[in-house]
Amino acid sequence: MPVTHLKKQFSLPECSGDVLTVQDLHFSYPDGHNALHGVSLKLCEGDKVALVGPNGAGKSTLMLHLNGILNGHGDVEVAGQRLTRDNLPAIRSMVGLVFQSPDDQLFSPTVFEDVAFGPLHMGLSEEEVRARVDSALEAVRMSAYRDRLSHHLSVGEKKRIAIATVLSMKPSLLVLDEPSAGLDPRARRTLINLLRDLPITMLVSTHDMKLVQELFPRTIVMDEGKVVADGLTIEILEDEALLNAHGLEKP
């Protein structure tokens, strides 16, 4: 008697974009290079989304738009608020942007001051700032590094501190640019566990397809300034024609 396997159908839940909505975003750099050609995407509460694509696809440019460092044509809405010049400070406390190089992210002499930078600029009280620094360092398991000097840390440690610097602002969306680049296997594993445990909506740009497979239910593929695919990670990673067309590899 033939065995019939139940074929499971997975699908992503409907998303109305309650955390982030980007609508038809265009941007070109001052030198004329066209980086974004009408990008649209939606993120919902609790989404963990990978953003993949070749170098120069516009991933970093898109990320810089999410808290108004770059201003292109089109709509960016964070938690229902349209990003304008007036609500920039509010948006910036909601979107935590972690840059690729931790040496750019960590600009203060000590770890404590770097993690306190965001909360201090939000105008919080001293006790609140201290409490937030402690809980952010706790979340990345770096509490013992509170008074260390940033430039004496290893790359993996700097990466985790860099994440703590935005966690202390209690963002509703965490945006990471290539978090696993340049890490050794152990530091990478620590980072993966950390990202898995963080209960925050996140959008992570990466070239690390194994990381994508392991961590993110949903993947967005970008190439030449456009979103070329957006869906379930397991489906996208099976679509070799799509991956090859956009310079990606199946893990």
Binding site: R92, L97, F99, D104, F107, P109, E113, L120, S150, H151
Partner: protein, 263 residues
């Protein structure tokens, strides 16, 4: 890869290490100013200042030889003062001919020269001690507390933070050049002086460009976390009674030094 050659802080568990950084900064500055104010040939004053320095040195647990060794590095700069040997009028001590000049060393000139040497030697040692027993971020905090303009302390803080990143960058560039500075056996390698100068120039240019772009990225990282032109810091230092006591003690000692130096 880290390049820590600039870090002069020495971790120790001593009275001086635990002193409030403001006290250390203020006492160091007052000590240096006091040295500068001591008249020429105020030997008792110098002696007393030196005893104070030795005392502070003992309280740092770094050992007397530590500042002594470091101070020798700074001593050649005091030689700039060598012209006073000949330019102060007084009784001639020594006359000699040097190249095209007839030079006369006077007794007053000699006294002033030795005094300048002693003053700078004492002051440099105290400054060396300050940096050795105070973590750099604490120094910056102390300056902030002492109402140094925020723009200055910010520049110093950034300089300190990125000095290390920049030197790493320089060493990477130098290493990359080294790695490709090959030679074929039997031929003269290295190229002409002009060519090499051009390469060095390109490297300096690279460094400027990279620093410029990095500053852009840092600014973005600051703006992303809410920076809008004002820097806010928490100042975690609090003066304890020992801090006040140490300040009072140091001020009295320096005052006595001044009196001794004038009689």
């Amino acid at each position: 890869m880290h390049f820590d050659a600039f870090d002069r802080y020495h971790e120790k568990d001593s009275f001086l290490h635990h002193l409030d950084p403001r006290v250390k900064v203020v006492v160091t500055i007052v000590f240096i100013v006091s040295n500068a104010l001591l008249p020429d040939a105020a030997w008792f004053g110098f002696l007393f200042a030196w005893i104070f320095l030795l005392l502070v040195n003992a309280a740092s647990k770094l050992g007397v030889a530590y500042t002594l060794k470091r101070s020798l590095l700074a001593l050649p700069f005091a030689l700039i003062a060598i012209t006073v040997l000949f330019s102060i009028p007084g009784k001639p001590v020594l006359q000699f001919h040097f190249l095209m000049w007839d030079l006369t060393v006077t007794d007053m000139g000699l006294l002033r020269f030795v005094s300048i040497l002693v003053r700078s030697w004492l002051s440099v040692q105290m400054a060396i001690l300050l940096v050795a027993v105070t973590r750099f971020p604490d120094l910056i905090h102390a300056l902030e507390h002492l109402r140094v303009p925020a723009i200055l302390t910010t520049i110093i803080a950034f300089l300190y933070r990125y000095l290390f990143v920049l030197t790493d960058e320089v060493f990477r560039l130098l290493r990359a050049r080294e790695a490709r500075s090959a030679a074929v056996p039997g031929t003269r390698s290295g190229g002409g002086v002009l060519w090499r100068a051009k390469i060095a120039g390109n490297m300096a240019g690279q460094l400027f460009l990279r620093s410029y772009e990095r500053s852009d990225r840092i600014y973005n990282a600051m703006v992303a976390r809410g920076y809008s032109g004002h820097l806010y810091t928490l100042n975690p230092h609090e003066m304890k009674s020992t801090d006040y006591f140490a300040t009072a003690f140091a001020i009295v000692v320096i005052f006595v030094t001044q009196i001794l130096g004038r009689f």
